[in-house]
Amino acid sequence: MMNFDDKDKRLISILQENIPLESRPFKNIGERVGLDEEEVVDRIRKMSDNGVLKRLAPLLHHRKAGFEANGMIVWQVPRDREDETGLRLSQYDEVSHCYLRETGPEWKYNLYSMVHAESEDELEHRVEEMAEEIQPEDYAILRSTEELKKTSLKYFSSL
């Protein structure tokens, strides 16, 4: 793990929220952290160079007009076809997320994809088409019926 000083941590805790929408946003942030504008930009660039900061960008509300139904599809795919299948699934526009996860004695599914569709019927239909193409050993559609919690991680927010 990398080392961050208190100013980095404070900077991260601010950047994970919103940067001010004004012509010199880092001047304002610098005042809150105790750095001048140039130092803020330097630190941000360093974080970007070493990959800690993936990007500084607007994030959109994920709501595609008309896409009402969604499901987490878990797929059981032979080990030697994991990557090929994961990449293939990722190419579908309807798939927003695709991951490979550990399996266990009670759980055989290794690939996960979030699939979005206009209706429940359409979702099933699209998933069948995907299954046809990737030929999994087995799969299941796990629909979410209730959101019980949804928050984002807060980094260094206690500072």
Partner: protein
């Protein structure tokens, strides 16, 4: 509430470009505007409007949580109907639980648990198992093939 269809061509161009990352300079809005034939003021004004219209959720940093020392996993539990909300509540009390969904499956409770630097993920899982009285499926991520969608709002991305 704004929808993707309500966006002007200029807004789409701006969002498509900005989603890839703002320039890391003292004047990020002015700099991104240069390529779009807008001045910084116009960029700020448009972004403000998009944020007020709830098209944009947040304008800020996206971090690599692993590099910041955070560790997380997906967990699933099989909980009988009559205990479901009690268990969900016990789980949600944990500040490291960021997402929790009920799903129509044998494993009906699906949640993510994250812990920060110097915290022990396995230890926290065991504590939660003890607290709820249920054993969880542990499904840590091995690989990401696709993570979220950056909406391509440029003309050719419209379908």
């Amino acid at each position: 509430m704004m929808r993707a269809e309500d966006l002007s061509e200029k807004d789409k161009e701006l969002l498509t470009r900005a989603q890839k990352g703002l320039p890391l300079s003292t004047t990020p809005f002015e700099d991104i505007g240069e390529k779009l034939d807008m001045d910084g003021e116009e960029v700020v004004k448009r972004l403000r409007k998009l944020k007020e219209g709830k098209m944009i959720r947040r304008i800020g940093g996206v971090f690599d949580s692993k590099m910041l020392g955070w560790e997380s996993t997906l967990l699933a539990a099989k909980v009988p109907k009559d205990k479901f909300y009690d268990v969900a509540e016990q789980i949600n009390e944990h500040p490291g639980v960021t997402h929790n969904y009920r799903r129509d499956y044998e494993y009906n409770l699906w949640f993510t648990l994250s812990v920060g630097p110097n915290e022990d993920l396995q230890g926290e899982i065991e504590k939660l198992e003890k607290k709820t009285g249920y054993e969880f499926l542990q499904l840590p991520k091995k690989k990401k093939y696709k993570l979220g969608v950056k909406l391509d709002l440029s003309a050719e991305g419209d379908k």
